[in-house]
Amino acid sequence: MVIGRVVGSVVATQKNASFVGSKMLLVQPLDLDGSDYGQEILAIDTQDAGPGDIVLVVSEGNSARQAMGRGDAPIDSVIIGVVDTIDVVRVSRHCEGR
């Protein structure tokens, strides 16, 4: 899972049937110092997150389908939580991500 900020939403009337009724939000992954990193993720919202919310995004197909309750949905990223607090013991410089 990663932490991210909701930065937008996507509307698509013509889409795979399993997406019908789902809210698609654009999430910008965040580093622990609050800075953006990496590419935005398009995630299905299951926790009624809103613009600017800090959310938890799981990016693993099977988990995502479990969270959405749709075993056949062609998705791999779902918002599974809205963060209240983040306590960081220490932030360190790190080499290029893997």
């Binding site: 899972m1 990663v2 932490i3 992954p29 580093d31 622990l32 990193y37 990496g38 299951t46 926790q47 009624d48 938890l56 799981v58 990016s59 693993e60 197909g61 099977n62 988990s63 995502a64 479990q66 969270a67 779902v78 599974i80 939580g81 809205v82 963060v83 209240d84 607090t85 983040i86 306590d87 960081v88 013991v89 220490r90 932030v91 360190s92 410089r93 790190h94 080499c95 290029e96 991500g97 893997r98």
Partner: protein, 101 residues
Amino acid sequence: MSALFIARVVGKIVATRKDERLEGVKLLIIEPLKRDGTPCGKPLIAVDSVGAGAGEVVHAVKGREASFPLPRPGAPVDVAIVGIVDHMYLDPGSGEGRLGN
């Protein structure tokens, strides 16, 4: 990143609004480590299944298997802490450092 990897716990997350299958599950922030103990990679949020604490070196699993240790089947998670490292020894010539708690 391979499925099983070494990391350090660097913080924790509180989220009251979350998937109900995560009720009562501890969410920790972990930073993947290289074999010499230096951080390498972006922070990840992992569910804790072994009672790990801040600063501890752990080993974690990534992918679908991350949901297996949790009490409720099918929890939507992709990273889980599955052990606390006591010691990790490196083969001679493969770098310095002894990693552990």
